[in-house]
């Protein structure tokens, strides 16, 4: 996925390069880049990439959509593209048509629950909802007496307390108090909150992997420019070894994320093997964000710490994305329980099944 070998990614990369260049975005203190970027993405049908034609979307494959998210990570795109894609995908699971405009999904944490009353009204609180403040609609997974359902909710009906994640993007608390959805339908058999969290987690994994690719790229470039003690710092073995480790973390993140994306794109159901792939991707990519981001900053010295430099656009977002749809510690506990429950002799067969 590192190269643009499909039309969806090519289109996206062109838009990102033209309208979301990280240096330009970083210099723009008024956020005047956001509206033109969103408009271009919408005109290209990218936010609704995962929504079938008959439900108002552009009907791209899951695989193409995942590759698009990886590209978005490479540009550290800070508009609700991933969120709108996930929302459209969630709504499409229940054959609900997607409206135009920005969306996000809730809940965004495995611990939060939205419930549905007998009369269909939704209640509950969801914390850490990415871009809730910017969304016109929410795609909501709710639980009621008759099981899970999927709802489209008008964002103006919710109470939103704004917050910022560690990457300075909106991460808000959304409270629904007996809100009547625009549409609500039952979730498909077997679809539950874990399914949604795994899908969101893989989306974030691909974004983290993309951000790490860029962190490696700019760190290598910087090390070849910066001179210290009369040598390019790239000639110092300690710096080379740090960058080799960053390359390893970046490669591991990309491998884990693309493998999980491939698993979901080809899965008949979210079985244990897909669970292993998706949970592992979120765990390993989060670890890579921590280790790799630290090395990128180390190589850049203090200048990467400044707001003027673009490194933080990648490093902080990669760190922030760790928290959405279940942190690595959450998924590690869940995966560990699954492994323990299946038993020692089933561990290798599960790993080798992928």
């Amino acid at each position: 996925m590192a190269e643009s070998d499909n039309i969806v990614v090519e289109t996206a990369e062109k838009i990102f390069a033209d309208l979301a260049d990280p240096q330009t975005v970083n210099n723009d203190k008024k956020d005047s880049w956001q509206a033109p970027l969103w408009q271009a993405l919408s005109e290209a049908g990218l936010p609704l990439a995962w929504v079938p034609d008959d439900l108002g979307g552009s009907g791209a494959s899951l695989a193409d959509g995942f590759a698009l998210l990886n590209a978005a990570g490479r540009f550290a795109v800070a508009v609700p593209l991933a969120e709108t894609m996930l929302a459209g995908w969630l709504l499409a699971q229940a054959k609900i048509a997607s409206p135009e405009g920005e969306m996000t999904v809730l809940p965004a944490s495995p611990k939060d629950r939205i419930t549905r009353d007998a009369d269909g009204a939704l209640s509950g609180r969801a914390r850490g909802v990415p871009f809730a403040k910017a969304a016109k609609h929410f795609a909501v997974l709710a639980h009621g007496k008759d099981g899970a359902s999927i709802a489209l909710v008008d964002a103006s009906k919710a109470r939103i307390e704004t917050g910022l994640n560690v990457g300075y993007d909106h991460s808000d608390t959304v409270t629904l108090n007996k809100v009547q959805p625009v549409t609500v339908k039952p979730a498909p058999d077997g679809f539950d909150q874990t399914t949604m969290m795994l899908m969101g987690g893989v989306a974030r994994s691909l974004q983290i992997a993309g951000a790490l690719e860029s962190m490696l790229d700019i760190s290598v470039r910087y090390s070849n420019e910066r001179v210290a003690f009369e040598k390019k710092i790239s000639k110092f073995q300690a710096v080379q070894h740090n960058l080799a480790r960053l390359a390893g973390e970046s490669a591991a993140a990309l491998a884990a994320a693309t493998s999980a994306a491939d698993a979901i794109a080809n899965a008949k159901s979210f079985d244990d093997a897909v669970y292993l792939e998706a949970a592992s991707a979120k765990i390993r990519c989060a670890e890579a964000a921590e280790k790799g981001g630290a090395i990128a900053h180390q190589v850049h010295g203090a200048i990467g710490f400044t707001l003027e430099h673009i490194l933080h656009r990648y490093s902080l977002r990669a760190l922030a994305w760790r928290d959405d749809f279940g942190s690595e510690s959450h998924w590690a506990v869940e995966l560990g329980k699954l492994i323990a429950n299946r038993g020692a002799d089933e561990l290798w067969p599960l790993v080798a099944s992928r």
Partner: protein, 386 residues
């Protein structure tokens, strides 16, 4: 963007899964028959001749080689499956593994036909054991520093010098070794090394065992004194061994043996923890499994690149670097978690014995296939830093 470090999500084809079942069934039979104990990694497994022959009889040695040499002409991915199942089961593979992975392919590429016809079928039948003579006292990963001389004489070469860290030399029938045939030149310091096929167990070779902190004897010092090697045992180009040696390294560096060496402690931890782990154990196991799964997916991806005829030197080095660090840390992480295992766990003793052995094994894992520092140098070169 920088070097495109792609690890495409290759999936093993269906026939690999069929083969996997066959290998598991074979290993289960061997375990039942008492050939080896999968829970005891700390055995002397260098000499398991009958097991080697049975693996050969299954057609699982020289799997990718031409049929005329006794091979099966199967895919690199099929070989991958056999390797990982053997490794995970703790099967006694040392006797045949080097010949199967490295020595055979070197012979296929560089040996004269009559030698290939003589030796390769015997490797495929699991009859012979190979050692690799690369390192020397004070050289190690720095192959340029090799000093052991091969001096031209009538009909061949006379060898004088010492190789060291030579795994399995005490049971090996052959060694593929690098000797100095001339001095490096100013233009090319890689010049002057030649690869030879050495027949062991002859006068002029003395093998001295080197004990390991695990209590095992696997490494050796091999001393050559006026040892004669005939001309037809020169492999490839005289003075040009450097590129021959490096081109094989992607195969040595990315396989499942590069992250599964201490894997057994993880299985045993899961067994000891039982079906209802506490939060700390669950998290620890979950992280380790996520890391293992990721490395394996990278390793399979590299296997796919090799099968496709690519030379993924940097990618293979990354797998080896991350894999080595992981398999070195694994026993220590398992030890952390094992502190909370109940006294009543039935496999507690096994786990403790395994941890003791794995902790002692860990320091050596950086060496095989290139030290971590050498690998990071290769990766740095791939990034355009040197």
């Amino acid at each position: 963007m920088t070097a495109a470090l792609r690890f495409d999500p290759i999936r093993l084809p269906e026939k690999c899964e069929q083969l996997r079942k066959e290998v598991r069934a074979f290993l289960a039979e061997e375990i039942a028959a008492g050939t080896f104990d999968p829970h005891k990694p700390n055995r002397e497994d260098t000499d398991a001749p009958e097991f080697s022959r049975r693996v050969g009889a299954k057609g699982w040695l020289g799997m990718t080689w031409p049929k005329k040499y006794g091979g099966q002409e199967r895919s690199f991915l099929e070989r991958y499956v056999v390797t990982e199942e053997m490794r995970v089961a703790n099967a006694p593979t040392r006797r045949f593994f080097v010949a199967d992975r490295q020595s055979g392919p070197v012979l296929i590429k560089y040996a004269p036909e009559h030698i290939k016809m003589d030796i390769l079928p015997r490797i495929c039948r699991g009859e012979i054991c190979f050692a690799i003579g690369m390192s020397e006292p004070n050289s190690g990963s720095d192959l340029f520093a090799a000093k052991t001389r091969a001096t031209k004489t009538d009909g061949g070469y006379l060898i004088n010098g010492t190789k060291i860290w030579t795994s399995s030399a005490h049971i090996a029938d052959y060694m593929i070794a690098i000797f100095r045939t001339s001095q490096p030149t100013n233009e090319n310091r890689r010049h002057g090394l030649t690869q030879f096929l050495v027949k062991m167990k002859q006068p002029g070779i003395q093998v001295n065992p080197i004990g390991q902190i695990t209590g095992q004897y696997e490494f050796n010092e091999v001393v050559f004194t006026d040892f004669f090697v005939p001309d037809d045992h020169v492999l490839g180009e005289v003075d040009g061994a450097w590129k021959q040696a490096t081109s094989e390294l992607a195969y040595e560096r990315s396989g499942p043996e590069r992250f599964l060496e201490t894997y057994y402690v993880l299985t045993e931890l899961v067994r000891a923890v039982g079906p209802n782990p506490d939060t700390r154990s669950a998290e620890g196991i979950g992280r380790l499994v996520a890391q293992l799964h990721t490395m394996r997916r990278m390793s399979v991806s590299v296997a796919g690149m090799l099968q496709a005829g690519k030379e993924p030197v940097v990618e293979a080095s990354i797998v080896k670097d991350i894999g080595t660090v992981w398999e070195q840390q694994l026993p220590h992480r398992v030890r952390d978690l094992a502190a909370f295992v109940e006294e009543t766990a039935t496999n507690r003793e096994t786990l403790e014995r395994q941890l003791d052995f794995a902790i002692k094994t860990a320091p050596k894992l950086t060496i095989q296939g290139g030290t971590t520092e050498v690998l990071r140098g290769i990766i740095a070169r791939g990034l355009g830093l040197r």
